[in-house]
């Protein structure tokens, strides 16, 4: 019996045979095709842009674990992502930029940051969780902003060594759009599978239980702080992995990466893409960054467009753009069938 998450963090527990679903080989082929198409048509700049979408999307995906499945809206999530980005950027100056080492540094940084934040926030929920995570996040921002010798202060850091992949017999430099794009695809895919396994595993179900009925979960012998802490650390690990690659794609990391507005941006992306759907994180990231990049070349008021999209999503498609469009098309098909 397999289970998959849908738009509301629910899990489908029908046997696979009863679901309309593609076989695994077809899914893999589609995925390979979707990955390959940009390689044929996109230039170096666009591929780097796609890499950024995937990396930010991975960070948003990790936020979805907390928001969509734990009901925990965090305004400090940028700390896991941006903290890992700084850690990787700083470590690369001393250790070189081997991608495996960078990912390890990022993941550990994200987990430690999540653990520390978790100790502060794990007993709270709703508004208190929001405010406490905001405060912890802003403390980190203050440190990053003022610790010039290490973080570059307001200027941030730039000029990193080339990201490399050691394969045993050759060292591949990941310094062009194609390589960075492919690395981001692998990161996003691995993160998605990890997140999906989390939400379908007992711990993910328990997290969903705390979102629905906290009191009942205690009465079933679950420790709610423990569940929240585990979710935070898992989320921090994924956000940290994404953060580790960010400086090398963006070629810059600044204090904005840990600022609360970065966390807020991730929440907006998540809402646009669909809370509790996991994949929606990437859709939301693509829409937001697409507007930011392409609309801003016409007008400085691109945030107005983001705001409009956000408001329309919340009003018309509260489960996110993908679920909303699916429902709209589903209705039309139903209507056609009836007529």
């Amino acid at each position: 019996m397999s289970s998959i998450a849908d738009g509301t963090g629910r899990v489908e527990t029908r046997p696979a045979s009863q679901r309309r679903s593609l076989p695994v080989t077809a899914k893999l082929a589609l995925l390979a095709l979707a990955t390959a198409v940009p390689l044929l048509f996109a230039g170096d700049y666009q591929l780097r842009f796609l890499a950024e979408i995937l990396i930010i999307g991975t960070a948003v995906l990790s936020l979805d674990l907390l928001v969509g499945f734990g009901g925990l809206v965090s305004l400090g999530h940028a700390v896991f992502f941006g903290g890992a980005a700084y850690a990787a950027a700083i470590a690369s100056q001393a250790l070189g930029a081997d991608i495996v080492v960078m990912l390890a540094v990022g993941i550990v940084t994200g987990m430690v940051a999540a653990l520390l934040m978790g100790i502060v926030v794990m007993r709270t929920i709703a508004l208190f969780f929001l405010i406490l995570s905001l405060i912890v996040g802003q403390i980190v921002w203050e440190v990053v902003f003022h610790w010039r010798e290490v973080t570059g202060g307001a200027d941030g850091l730039r000029g990193f060594p080339v990201l490399t992949l050691h394969t045993g017999f050759a060292t591949i430099p990941l310094n062009n759009g194609v390589a960075l794009y492919l690395a981001s695809v692998v990161l996003a895919l691995a993160a998605y599978l990890a997140a999906r396994s989390f939400v379908t595993a007992p711990i993910g179900r328990a997290l969903l239980g705390t979102r629905e009925r906290q009191l009942r979960m205690s009465a079933l012998g679950y420790s709610i702080p423990r569940i929240r802490l585990m979710a935070l650390v898992a989320s921090g690990a994924i956000a940290g992995a994404a953060g580790a690659l960010y400086p090398f794609v963006n070629q810059y990391v600044g204090p904005n990466a840990v600022h609360w507005t970065m966390s807020a941006m991730m929440i907006i992306m998540l809402v646009i893409g669909g809370v509790g759907s996991l994949y929606g994180a990437f859709i939301g990231s693509a829409i937001y960054l697409g507007i930011q990049t392409y609309v801003s070349s016409y007008t400085d008021r691109w945030q107005l467009v983001v705001g409009l999209v956000f408001v329309l999503t919340v009003m018309i498609m509260p489960k996110g753009v993908v679920a909303g469009l699916k429902a709209a098309f589903g209705r039309r098909k139903d209507a056609e069938r009836r007529s």
């Binding site: 963090g9 007992p202 711990i203 009925r213 079933l220």
Partner: protein
């Protein structure tokens, strides 16, 4: 229950006040192994507060609570639950957005210590699903396993709620008005499910439906204004004047 057997649950001289309000004063009652004890009394008598003290959601000001001979007065709720002291709540507390099977499996995994697994939990998940399906089959709800609880009728939701508790394999089960809002037939069915599925189970049942309480319980305890005014067999309680007086609205003698 023989005189020297260790009771499943012993409540000794328990008192609790909220501010100046005495909710319970000097309540002592024991629950024998395998016994079903009814707990009745008017609203505000302290029945649920007593449950909260027994399950660790509240700590009493005085007195002690012993579970199978062990003092648990200050033990944390999750510790008591895993030891087999399980409760239900007045409102249905099944998880509405989870499937019926998943509701039971959540409890089964907590019981087996697999509640926090991530990678490599396939076996634990399968075992919990199996345990859930077995309980559902025995409760004749197997065909409901895949439905979300929010899609069930209220009566079925209450039964799922009780099944979730039974999936914890409790030794003592505290049922807080499980039949409230149910029809007589639904209520009797629910009690029947508990009696047939709970093996070696000792229960305390809070219910306003006196027919059910007097029909299924071995003994009945009557609480009034935080005091235990009687604890005896159903027949003796029906004849008890103090109990009659306390239960203003209902006439105990007529309930049969």
């Amino acid at each position: 229950m023989s005189a020297n057997a260790v009771p499943a649950l012993a409540i000794e001289g328990v008192a609790k006040s909220f501010g100046g309000l005495k909710v319970l004063s000097d309540v002592s009652v024991t629950l024998g192994q395998g016994e079903c004890l009814g707990l009745i009394g008017p609203n505000g008598a302290g029945k649920t507060t007593l449950f909260n003290i027994v399950t660790g959601f509240l700590i009493p000001d005085h007195g002690r609570v012993a579970f199978a001979g062990e003092d648990i007065t200050t033990a944390k709720p999750d510790v008591r639950v895993r030891a087999g002291l399980v409760r239900t709540f007045q409102k249905s507390m099944a998880f509405p957005e989870l499937s019926v099977r998943e509701n039971l499996a959540l409890a089964a995994r907590s019981r087996s210590g697999d509640g926090y697994g991530w990678f490599g939990s396939r076996k634990a998940v399968a075992a919990a699903d199996e345990a859930a399906d077995e309980l559902l089959t025995r409760a004749q709800l197997r065909e409901r396993a895949e439905l979300l609880v929010s899609g069930l009728s209220y009566g079925e939701q209450r039964i799922v709620d009780v099944l979730v508790s039974l999936a914890m394999r409790p030794r003592v089960l505290l049922l807080d008005e499980p039949t409230a809002g149910l029809s007589r037939a639904e209520g009797e069915h629910l009690i029947e499910v508990v009696r047939t599925l709970g093996e070696d189970l000792s229960t305390i049942l809070i219910a306003h439906d006196l027919d059910i309480v007097f029909g299924v319980c071995d003994r009945v305890a009557v609480l009034d204004l935080g005091r235990l005014i009687a604890c005896d067999t159903p027949d003796a309680i029906k004849a008890h004047e103090g109990a009659q007086a306390a239960y203003l609205g209902a006439s105990l003698g007529e309930a049969a």
